[in-house]
Amino acid sequence: MPWSVGIRFTHASLQVLAEDHGIDLLHIKGPAVDESLLEVVPGDTPHPGTPAKRVARQSIDADVLVRPHHVERLLEVMHRHGWTTQYRFEDGSAFEHAATLVHPFLAPVDVHRRFPGMDAHPAPAFERLWQERHLVPIAGFDCPVPSVTAQRLVLVLHATRAGELEHPDIQCSWTLATDDERAAVRRLAEALGAQVALAAGTGRLGDHAGARGYELWRALSTGEQSRVRIWLARVQAEPTVFGALRTAVRLIVPKPGRMRTTLGRRPTAREVAAAYAQRARWGYREVARLVRASRDTSRGGR
């Protein structure tokens, strides 16, 4: 079965489970993206004049954003229908925003409990997106998706987080948008606390220098490779001290779910301990390198 077919079936299957169990979820990215936001490529080169066509987004998994209060219910229902959690929220990205579930014959799915870059509280943020949803058929089944404006924001934030500022999604969702469409995206970003992340993806991050999240999105949007720099930026972006402490701890501990996938089995206590030690060494070496680089820079500037 082609991968793209499996992804569509995953969306449709999850929508049925959601409807059967009173779960609100929005389908995002992949086949849920509005056709007007798809990349346009010229027609076949051997035949000049062939009409340009829109290209379906290539995805490796399905993505859904779930009402935060419904996340646990969805995961429980999915587990009863053959899905297995591959990565828990804590095993995922620095944002801990999504869990990955796999199925014997459907495409994997990332279940998002929030979307990175949207700093508003996840529950009202979801409600805002939910209020402006509409239905699109995926695999012939009506699935709720965010408004086209919200889709623009999601695609820009996603590409920005990956440091891909030249990504076609940013071109189609922002660069080629009209002034009115951009203004609508800015208004929505303001409502969702996504101004800094949006600015990072659209060349205006400098307007937010010093704001919470500035360093994080500067690091992400420039493809920062240093784990320590991203850790520090992520910690600085937390709105509360408790959140910052928790993030710091989470980010530097090894992730057993990831280790289990890499090893193909549950890691032993010794392997987890060794991973802790390795992470600590990575952190120490990078911190030391950053300190040296910073010191050399300041000496050179004198």
Partner: protein, 94 residues
């Protein structure tokens, strides 16, 4: 003549890049499947029937460039098979 329709919980996908007359069609009963595939004329029969065409045999014969009487029996038998598998259902008379 019997008209057909897609059951509420049957998902269907024609893969990206397929020609107007697709070579393959994937179906799945939601939410648990498993997925199934129909190839060539089998896919055409499902698509024509799902579109509500009242004389499926006639439409498929036209697509295949064959006389209706040559394909009608096979088409009707296949439609009955699709209904028994839950991949199509008979539409109520309008």
């Amino acid at each position: 003549m019997t008209a057909y329709r897609i059951p509420n919980r049957v998902a269907h996908v024609v893969p990206d890049g397929e020609p107007d007359l697709p070579e393959a069609l994937f179906l799945m009963q939601l939410p648990d499947g498993p997925p199934q595939v129909l190839h060539g004329p089998a896919a055409w029969i499902w698509l024509v029937a799902a579109d509500g065409e009242p004389d499926v045999a006639d439409a498929v014969a036209h697509l295949a460039g064959r006389p209706r009487q040559e394909v009608a029996a096979d088409v009707e038998q296949f439609l009955a098979d699709l209904v028994s598998r839950g991949l199509l259902e008979e539409a109520p008379p309008s």
